[in-house]
Chain length 472, copies 2
Amino acid sequence: MTHAPADAAFADTLRDRLSPKAFREAEPRYFEEPRGRWSSPNGLVLAPGDVEEVRTILMAANEARVRVVPYGGGTGLVGGQVIGAGAAPLVLSMERMNRIREVFPEENVIVAEAGVILQDLHDAAEKVDRLFPMSLAAKGTARIGGNLATNAGGVNVLRYGNTRELCLGLEAVLPDGRVLSGLTRLRKDNTGYDLRNLLIGSEGTLAVITAAALKLAPVPPEQGTAILVVESPEAALSLLSLARGQLGDGVSAFELIDGTGLDFLEETMPQVKRPFAPAPPWMVLIDVGLARGNDPQEALMALFEAAAGEGLVSDGVIAQSEGQRAELWDLRETIPLANREIGGVCSHDVSLPLSVIPDFIRRGAELVAGLGPFRINCFGHLGDGNLHYNLFPPKGETRDAYMPRTAEIYEAVHDLVVSLGGSFSAEHGVGRLKVGELERYGDPVRLELMRGIKRLFDPNGIMNPGAVLAAG
Amino acid sequence: MTHAPADAAFADTLRDRLSPKAFREAEPRYFEEPRGRWSSPNGLVLAPGDVEEVRTILMAANEARVRVVPYGGGTGLVGGQVIGAGAAPLVLSMERMNRIREVFPEENVIVAEAGVILQDLHDAAEKVDRLFPMSLAAKGTARIGGNLATNAGGVNVLRYGNTRELCLGLEAVLPDGRVLSGLTRLRKDNTGYDLRNLLIGSEGTLAVITAAALKLAPVPPEQGTAILVVESPEAALSLLSLARGQLGDGVSAFELIDGTGLDFLEETMPQVKRPFAPAPPWMVLIDVGLARGNDPQEALMALFEAAAGEGLVSDGVIAQSEGQRAELWDLRETIPLANREIGGVCSHDVSLPLSVIPDFIRRGAELVAGLGPFRINCFGHLGDGNLHYNLFPPKGETRDAYMPRTAEIYEAVHDLVVSLGGSFSAEHGVGRLKVGELERYGDPVRLELMRGIKRLFDPNGIMNPGAVLAAG
């Protein structure tokens, strides 16, 4: 499909139909992404202030065949927010639609516009003594519209589900300006096909999400956190099973930490307090939320003792205060920053059936050893079967010499993952990074139906073309 | 669209391509539904034994333009399983595809074919010390494929979600015989548009679900149940809030019971033990699942005392044994049977934002009083905002005289529900009963997209035509 540029002439056609505030300076950040792999050609940045302005912009773009990139916090890791070569795009930044529209504490519901920053959503929930459970390292920048568009995961999926499971209703604008008004706050609503979940995870290729009704949760009355040293990935899984047996679904997060992650922290941020030195090969961060009257330290100690009795764990730190809990979580959340300092060669966001994870870690290490002298930092949301399997250059080297090999490495690792029944994109999405993977590994019937749905929603192909599906 | 009948000549074309076991006797039960409002014309009943047989049947039907009704346990309450007037249909019964394909206790996953009866799924989970949480009164007959096709709700949605939230992956056959192979057991898999949730809740109008990978849950280590007498619907909601404050999401079910329900039990099944006589106007059944070491009776007693202190509850029964728990649950599950004995005039399956429920109950009673001398039994899944708002004739009368008025009553009640931000179908689906409601109350943009999706999946319109969307 041929697209027109979002140039000055196009901008002028909108000048008297939008508030002057909608016209943003075309700063470089709108055309880049965190890993610096892709960029957009310089284009037009528009920030609508309400649904009506979104409609105006989309109708103009649809008529003129201008490519539109819906833009949240720009923190995505798969290039969904940068459109690559071609006509200058229209970056539709949701930053001005950042209102919490309504809060219903007694219903555990919050209605937020797409541009609300995740941290602000957390704060708004906390203000009414509630929890918005979805949380990830980029929460200070990521916006909820982007989290919805990518069905973001994060650290609390084990207990609360992905962003999808936290969304009750959506308001969205189709490329031709029609508004999908589905901002219901109902827990049950079986009235036809599920378009909400079709838009969630569609990465801005079907419509622009403008607002959402989201679930809040009660703040668990008693919370606790520990990092336990486990003997192996197998032991980590047995510990998960033991923990869920003892605490039911009181286990809210279960994160695998690779000793390499602590080594990276030592190398790049020696000021960060590390609980064990030297770093043991494998650790697990476990977070629990329990009913009133339970002592979370006691519960975690009982878990540790039972696990030690089975030879699963050898050491551990149980937070004794909220301050210590925050420190343990900071440690977990700082690992991605340390990774960035070291400079990764390949970062895989994979998921696997839980029971094959130890096998994957063993076979992955063998595979990678055959590919070169890489250091592996394999960490992530073990309770969800989601690993961030990241490869780094040997100590003392930079990644530059290895970058030409990334395609080969991605393919080898993803082949292994898929052969074990796993997914090449657990929580980051397809974006532009994994379009080839989706074509290679995806069910062809599903892909055909996806292309049909894309044509139905976006017949002119203006919505984030080239993301998820190859541009037509 | 014109359809051909599934007559003897059509059956003969399949005779040598299917196992003889696939040809079932065309018993009346396949052409009726529990409430006796609709029926199908007598047609052909085929029960495929595997995916290949499903493909064979659908391809033949698609080519011949024969209408297909996917058929599970036949327990649906909105006529989704009976096709109404027109050419003789092909009833595609999933009864022979009733295998549990695999169980992964360590992953909390079970893979079941569509024809597995819900109770058998419960039993298979229990055998490995796990819980399949979705449960409803028809569990002895309903099949999981039907539960998926209608996104069934039931009594544990508050804690575990609807059927949708319990499904990780689907296998399905499109009307042209293509197979959607999505039987993943992954908790996170962000690889393109969500077709799984599009099929879930599509009521057999897009494809035939043949198998699903479903979530299991750990059995909560400590469980308890109580029925508490609440002063009013407002008090019931305050009690829910108090319970969740004390027990976090340890509250697994929170069911409103109307005194009228107990009166109906007394009238129709005096042998069923009732905890209070005379029946108080409102009660709540509350079920809790707690971490090991908690005493559920104590927790429920503490809740009762706190609630009594706030004037919310006046009496109650806390189960002291598993046997007593089962008795309290039996009481709840027997109410729909008592309703059927009395003979309802209208049964509404509505949902509302939690905070407007007391207002709905008050205004609904006024509305109904203006419509006639009906008895209201308003019960259901209060924690999910889902009420079964059912109207019955006065004591001593049968419903016959009132049946001509059902359309008028449905419209009045649904108008009220929708005006309060609620839904006219919470968990039963649209089926054939509520096609008009969906057209009247549904977002027209959403309906247009739904019709487009229907054409994409089922261009010949053979899949359960007339359900969800008016037949084209």
